[in-house]
Amino acid sequence: MRKGALKKKQRQLEELHLDRREALGELVLGMFVQGNWDDSLMARGAAEVSEVEAELKTLAAGETPEQDSAEHDFPVTGEYTAEHGLPTGEHTAEHDLPATGEYTAEHGLPTGEHTAEHQLPAAPSTKAERDAKTSLPTPVPAPRPPSATAPTPSAPATLKSSPDPAKPAAKAPVKDPSEKPAAPAAKPSPATPSPAAAADPAKAASPAPAATAATPAAAPEAGKEKSPLDALSERLEASESQAKTAAEAAKASAKADAKTEMTAITREVEADQKKLDTTLASAAAAIKTAEEKAARAEAKLARESASSREAAAVWVRNQAAEIEADAALAAEIATPGAGTAEAAVPPSPGTTPAEKATATVEPDVAAVAKIASLEADLAAEKASKAEALNAAEARLKQIEATAKLAEERIAAAEAAAATKPAEAAPVAAATMTPAESDKVEAEAREAAVNWLRGQIAALRHEIESAPAATPAESGAAETATAESPKEGS
């Protein structure tokens, strides 16, 4: 191999080694984040890294890497086991292995160390012996279970290739060197078919000639060294598969990161929700207090407006009482002789100075309207009283006129009486003395004056008791009073 190609390969291997180490680190990081440690997975990844490391060391030592070594063809994943042909005994006999031992790996022996251990056919074997071996019915070595403590005689050949993820390939148990080399091929374990047999039952079941027919193309290749590029391509394929594993691990770690991020975000959201709830609660409390304040203010306003209305009503009542008192006083003034009892109208009961003070408060529109109506009523009352007063004055005048008429009638009666005594003087003179006649006349006059006084008092009483009496009634009374002196007279 040229030096340039070797350097390139070395560079590629170094990059691969670095990538695998990083992938393994990602894997461990994902396990740490998830808190789910998997030793087998770590061992598997470590085995992949150590594999590349070993190749790199080999290359650095100036040796070409062993082709199809067990380390390369049978990674710990075991997924290539069937593809690359497990070291069944049939190949051992079939391919005329040279004494160099360089094909040992191809035939299932992981490294050269097993060559000496098992005394592989590096030692020249006769054709007859090989034929005898190939004629055996598929001497398939049993794959060693991961925890096998009593391996079958063929176990040493498969130990390194067995996918034991818990233990790296470097820790594969070393068998006793004193073990017979021919034992594995001579003592097959028919109960447990090999992975190769499982992958290709026809091949496993077929006798040696069939296997021989299937491998003529491989035999010449095995005779030669594989080119480094082929080996490199094979290793690259293997590394691709391992990179897939690493990518899966990276995906797992990314998922774990996403989970942790989600957890952190969820916590933040919960904290924000709590803050929001507290803020809402405080806002609700503030709104409640504001509502209570508003209710209190409304109640206070209602109370104040009610008190102001009441004060206005009191003021109106006071005003009405005062007006009534004024009207009564005016009526009393207009009617001299009327009782003064009504003039002294006391203020309405329950009127306190405070109310009088609050009465100065300007009433509202309703109160003004009420006042207006009360004023209108008062004016109407005043008008009616004025009319009554006029009527009373007219009646007084009539009464006075009737009184004058009565006096005139009395005078006429007196005159008539004066004339009549002259006519009847002869009769009276014959019966009484002049002193007695004067006395009788004086008594008659006195009786007439007393009657008139009684009539006038009765009229005044009538006027006072019924001030709003209609003029017609008063006229009727007048006529009655006018007629009564006639009757009395």
């Binding site: 670095l18 695998r20 180490r21 990083e22 992938a23 393994l24 680190g25 990602e26 461990v28 990081l29 740490f32 984040v33 440690w37 030793d39 770590m42 061992a43 990844g45 470590a46 085995a47 890294v49 150590s50 490391e53 233990k167 790296p168 470097a170 820790k171 990161d257 942790t260 991020e261 957890t263 952190a264 916590r267 933040e268 904290a271």
Partner: protein
Amino acid sequence: MGLFSRNKQSGRERRAMKDHLDELDELRRTSLSELGQITVEMASDGTFDRQHLSAKATEVVGIDREADLIARGLEDGLTLEELEDLARHEDEPGTDPGQ
């Protein structure tokens, strides 16, 4: 514009953040490689010291967090002071994704 941005991010700050992000990326790769190497050595010994692995993984988690913070600062256009405030806020308990 960033959610918490009060001032404008200067070009110098942006460059510094980018450089630091690159450094963190390189440091992360190195740490991961070291973690992988440690794992290989432990595998060759046959035992895995999870405490040691956890310590190393915690370093990587810290690097990741710092890188996320710087990336957020670059994305939101935060100044260095705002980024420091944000880092202090994220250092509060309950927001550590590694715990």
